[in-house]
């Protein structure tokens, strides 16, 4: 079963759980200058991102993910696409575009390791309400 990984700018390391989710899959980073502009990613940050990508086993392809990934998926007859989890509305919108362009391919978001694991939803009204709930776990290895 061929898999692909769409690595985006929020998950630039080799031990992100997305790599374990689809072992051996090729990872692609889509260098999309329109996204960079929309996300307010200036030149210095673009350089930082590119420099970081050079440390990774990832192919850097120019263009929007919604254009690049369907072509590659078709080429390798991919059946799964795994993507690091994200809140970013711009990435999620592009992911919707990718899904719309792919047929018969399972798309999965893979979350990163959490900072703290809380049984109940903390009150986010102010930081110190959250901290009161999270402090105990935050001061432990693994946040558990």
């Amino acid at each position: 079963m061929a898999g692909l990984i769409w690595l985006h700018e929020e998950a630039l390391r080799a031990d992100h759980p997305v790599f374990a989710a689809v072992p051996g899959a090729k990872a692609l980073f889509c260098w999309d200058i329109d996204y960079m502009a929309a996300a307010d990613i200036g030149l210095r940050r673009q350089i930082f991102i590119y420099e970081t990508l050079l440390d990774l086993d990832v192919k850097i392809i120019r263009g929007a993910a919604s254009k690049v990934l369907p072509l590659v998926a078709q080429r390798v007859q991919a059946t799964r696409l795994c993507v690091p989890g994200t809140t970013n509305p711009l990435i999620r919108q592009e992911l919707s575009n990718v899904k719309a362009a792919l047929t018969g391919i399972a798309v999965e978001l893979v979350s990163d390791r959490p900072f703290v694991q809380l049984a109940d939803k903390p009150d986010l009204g102010r930081f110190f309400r959250y901290w009161k709930k999270a402090r105990k776990q935050a001061l432990r290895r693994g946040g558990v």
């Binding site: 260098w31 307010d40 990613i41 210095r44 940050r45 673009q46 930082f48 970081t52 990774l56 986010l124």
Partner: protein, 277 residues
């Protein structure tokens, strides 16, 4: 491992992965965005190796004692955390390993928790981070604040020496100490009456660690749209924390050279009672 060669796909363009030096890489990336290469390279180096080297150098105890000082023992991990090169979990675990008791690392870990907090807020309402969470508590309403960033601020030529120095550092390195970010943000919103969204966007465009949640929600905290009162400061405070390299002379920083009480009257004249930083 699948075997396929993307170079054989003429409708896709693979980008270069080998460069002789950072300057060559920077010029290549600039060209992809049709921009001229930067005059100077940022001291913040990308990559996991650089991230781990930076992580190995942190001192949670010194951080706790000196973090508010511009020449204090700050970690400069933010760009790596922002782009997932390091996780909050591994940074916290490293900090715990570096101290005798968790309490010694608590201030440092609390700063990591701030980021986790911002991310949780972001996840709860992804689109809301560009919207005023609450009303301004400055005696003004949102429409009283300007939409555009004046050119003198964008260029670091406001005539307020310490603010110009901080902006210069931001533009030249892509990094700014958190306390200096607070000074600049407060100057933009409260002294110049610019919408926090305008300043937040400007920071995002220039910071290597620019994170929509941490950045925008911090600006909202400064502005008072996510705090019980506005954050502001005076020249005495800058002098206390800035170290010897920042010009904090009164004559070169006149708009900041007042007591908190007087500044509150000047900055927030519609408030009936003075607010304090």
């Amino acid at each position: 491992m699948q075997n396929y060669v993307l170079e054989e796909m003429p409708d896709l363009t693979s980008l270069a992965t080998r460069f002789d030096n950072r300057a060559e890489l920077a010029a290549y990336v600039a060209n992809l965005s049709n921009l001229p290469p930067p005059a100077d390279l940022s001291p913040i180096i990308g990559g996991r190796a650089a991230a781990l080297s930076t992580l190995a150098a942190i001192n949670p105890v010194q951080y706790s004692d000196t973090r508010n000082h511009l020449d204090g023992a700050v970690t400069r991990l933010s760009a790596y955390i922002r782009h997932g090169v390091l996780t909050l979990d591994e940074v916290r675990n490293h900090a715990l390993d570096a101290v005798a008791t968790p309490k010694q690392a608590e201030k440092f870990i609390q700063e990591l928790a701030w980021r986790d907090y911002w991310q949780r807020l972001y996840k709860a309402s992804p689109e809301a981070i560009w919207v005023d969470i609450e009303a301004y508590k400055t005696g003004f309403v949102a429409s009283d604040y300007a939409d555009d960033l004046p050119a003198d601020i964008a260029r670091g030529e406001t005539g307020v020496a310490c603010i110009d120095a901080f902006i210069s550092i931001l533009l030249e390195t892509g990094y700014l100490h958190n306390h200096a970010r607070m000074y600049v943000a407060a100057y933009v919103v409260h002294w110049r009456q610019i919408k926090w969204q305008t300043g937040a966007k400007w920071f995002l465009q220039n910071l290597i660690d620019g994170d929509p949640a941490s950045n925008n929600l911090s600006w909202q905290w400064i502005a008072s749209t996510f705090a019980n009162k506005p954050y502001f400061f005076n020249l005495e405070n800058v002098a206390r924390y800035s170290g010897p390299n920042i010009n904090v002379s009164v004559t070169d920083n006149l708009p900041l050279a007042n007591s908190y009480e007087r500044l509150a009257e000047l900055l927030f004249p519609n408030l009936t009672s003075a607010v304090a930083s």
